[in-house]
């Protein structure tokens, strides 16, 4: 099964750049789970976000993310895991789980 691990934390922590020690932790996480990780990216802060809504055939674009939240989506991993418990155990090892939280969502498969 594939799962999306969505990393949410207060992006103010990264306002003056990334902590090199934390980046090394991410690198170690990536190496340790290399065979399970199918994808992953970090996102630029929500100040760079634009949100598009289509109403009556017209695109309405607004600055900012779709919703203001206390913690913000900062990145994700797409992982292969035997079950949800295994995916959650992997999520707990992502440094972001210490500072914010990691949402584990199964990928939808169409038969």
């Amino acid at each position: 099964m594939q799962f999306l691990l969505l990393i949410y934390e207060n992006e103010q922590r990264f306002a003056s750049g990334f902590n090199p020690a934390e980046m090394q932790e991410y690198e170690a996480f990536g190496q340790q789970h290399a065979s399970a990780i199918k994808g992953g990216n970090a996102l630029q802060p929500t100040t760079e976000a634009q949100t598009v809504r289509l109403r009556n055939g017209k695109a309405l674009t607004t600055d900012g993310p779709f919703a203001e939240t206390k913690e913000q989506l900062g990145g994700y991993y797409l992982v292969e895991a035997p079950d949800k418990a295994a995916a959650a155990a992997m999520a707990a090892k992502i440094p972001g789980a210490r500072f914010g939280c990691v949402e584990v969502r199964p990928i939808m498969t169409f038969s």
Binding site: Q2, L4, L6, Y8, M23, Y26, E27, F29, G30, Q31, H33, A34, I37, K38, G39, G40, N41, A42, L43, Q44, T46, E48, A49, Q50, T51, V52, R53, L54, R55, A59, T61, P65, F66, A67, T69, K70, E71, L73, G75, L78, K84, A87, A88, A91, A92, A97, R98, G100, C101, V102, E103, V104, R105, P106, I107, M108, F110
Partner: protein, 133 residues
């Protein structure tokens, strides 16, 4: 530059949708994926199961706290994502407007977020291990 398109929809609307509406939304996704693949800018896309299947993990003082449900309750819910390699934000916004967000055509939105590109290592290897996308 790569952009992540986060597709938010109202799950309640999807549950109410007819088979015809679902087929139309599905066809809309197929069309966007075929066209972006043809242009060589498609990088990844995945649909997600409903937020009722979500689990949220926090680590507090070394202890793992697992709760059912998504990280936040919102009026619209994350239903899937695309990664497209676009020339600029304008192109990304054009594609975002073509991605179907749900049923009835009147709900949902697409958030467009530029991806943070990390420098590569001395041998060109990614600093952060990532796969496709």
């Amino acid at each position: 530059m790569r952009y992540m398109m986060l597709v938010y929809t109202q799950e309640i609307e999807m549950e109410k949708a007819s088979q015809e509406e679902m087929a139309r939304v599905f066809a809309g996704h197929v069309a966007v994926q075929q066209e972006t693949r043809r242009r060589g800018i498609f990088r990844a896309a995945d649909p997600l199961k409903y937020t009722s299947t979500a689990t949220t993990v926090r680590l507090q003082e070394g202890k793992t706290l697992v709760t059912d449900g998504p990280f936040a309750e919102t009026k619209e819910q994350l239903a899937g994502y695309y990664i497209l390699d676009c020339a600029d934000l304008d192109e990304a916004l054009e594609w975002a407007a073509k991605i179907p967000t749900g049923c009835g055509g009147s709900t949902g939105c697409v958030e467009v977020r530029p991806i943070h590109e990390f420098p590569t290592g001395p041998q060109g290897e990614p600093i952060l291990a990532t796969g496709r996308g």
